[in-house]
Amino acid sequence: MARAAVLGRLTWQVGTVAVVREETATARTIVLDVPGWSGHTAGQHVDVRLTAQDGYSTQRSYSIASAPAPGRLELTVQRLEDGEVSPYLTDVLKPGFPLELRGPIGGWFAWDPAAAGPVLLVAGGSGVVPLMSMIRARAAAGSHAPFRLVYSVRSPDTALYPAELAQRGHAGEGVEVSWVYTRSAPAGARVRVGRLNPVVLAAPGWTPEAAPAVFICGPTGFVEAAASLLVRAGHDPGVIKTERFGPSGGQA
């Protein structure tokens, strides 16, 4: 399936919004029915294109949040105040609306559930979206690959999927979740507020010797910082895969 999904040139197709789910005050998940969609590999994205009545059109890339499934996919979109595409997706789009998209796109920043080795995921803000797809794909495939997610958010109210991550992070599930709060921590939590640091990244069992596959996704500055911390700790730069999103061209 993963291979079939990347074979053939990309063409635009039209999906229909099945459900929208509010995730935070500024982010929502859009569930799309896409006829003929053959699924994706966790980590891949789609391009979404909006066309105005006068013919002006613009497109952005959005990571797929769901586990691979035929005919259906979920995108979680963070609203950008000065965004050209995201405000339409987060504020206007309703169930039943059509949405033009193409994909799945990109085979580099992707995790194949057939890989049994440990996987270290490092997310900054809405960079958790493609990593969530990997966590969900792991569960859907019945994979026992050890997973660890280090998720950096400004404050608890900006976190995506907190309830699901708490559930998937239960002991015995094989997914460890560590939170980093850069501005404010949950009330009563004994967590230090601050940036991602070497101590958080170096959990027992997650040393360079364990040679985990590493996926980092977030804003450019976050990705740079996380990648250099891991390289300095001794991780092989060759196994670190990054996906930065920036002001243009990337994930709006």
């Binding site: 193409r102 085979g107 580099w108 930065r244």
Partner: protein
Amino acid sequence: MNTHLDGNVLAGALGEVFAVDITTAVAQCASCGTSQAMGQALVYTDAPGLVARCRTCGEVVLRVTRSPGRTWLDMRGVRCLELHVPGE
């Protein structure tokens, strides 16, 4: 502006013209000879089109520019491109 994204952002524009994924393709840089997956390239989007630079030496590896009905692809920075052929 000096911020860059990753080779992942090339996938859409090049997926329009190539039948196989470009981000897992390994490109040998014409300047320094390093071979790296295109997904590892540094991609600058604040130019006309997308400009991919070598992670090792910083030279331009590939440029792709899109206009209605047309794609321009400048690959003079690639000495050799090794593509994965699915299904084999």
